[in-house]
Symmetry: C2
Subunit: 135 residues, 2 copies
Amino acid sequence: MATQTQTALQVNAIMIGVKDLARAKKFYGEGLGCKTEQDYPAFVKFTLGEGSSSLALYEREAAAKDAGVSSEGSGFRGVSFHFIVRSKDVVDEVIARAERAGGAIVRKPTSTQWGYFGYFSDPDGYLWKVASASY
Amino acid sequence: MATQTQTALQVNAIMIGVKDLARAKKFYGEGLGCKTEQDYPAFVKFTLGEGSSSLALYEREAAAKDAGVSSEGSGFRGVSFHFIVRSKDVVDEVIARAERAGGAIVRKPTSTQWGYFGYFSDPDGYLWKVASASY
């Protein structure tokens, strides 16, 4: 049945609710070099390449409203976005770039038994892990 | 420079922290038909196809610890995962399937000016929007 393929769950886009759309757009666009696919006053979408879901920005209140839920919430979101790169140097480079763009280093890159990785957060506190399999 | 391509941000995996790994694994695997790529006692990863990031499950405490942050947090997470399908029928089908698998219907599918869509949440409250461009 053709329908079965279609119902296989995919994340076509990750939507994050942000406080300041212009700030978030600048962070991901100019700051981290993401390619804008859609750019509206209330909604921005970046294409992140073939092996990745797109990233969509929406105001936090609007994001909650779209789902019909309260926008109240705080603390750890339980979610992180993982970017796998080819070397330690690139891990350092991406995290430094995120910091220059207005993000924060949450976990300084270090070597662990699973490879070399660190975390940064975007201006709204969304967590990104940047990791390389090399130690 | 080869490095520039490499630093273009991608979401290779979305990691969500869950309360009960077995329950979440069953929901996404058996329930929604996601294909297991890695299956360890403390970590499960599903491949969701070429146009999508992978989905990784980790215990919530472990997910917070990996980033070096507190696991405290509640309410709206600000994040939703969007699954775009080809018709209204498929929207209904996916949301019904999620409910049968132990998820909850958060927003019943309806026609809007942007198409037909609804939201379900997984057993840990992560929000999924299922949408079709057809009205």
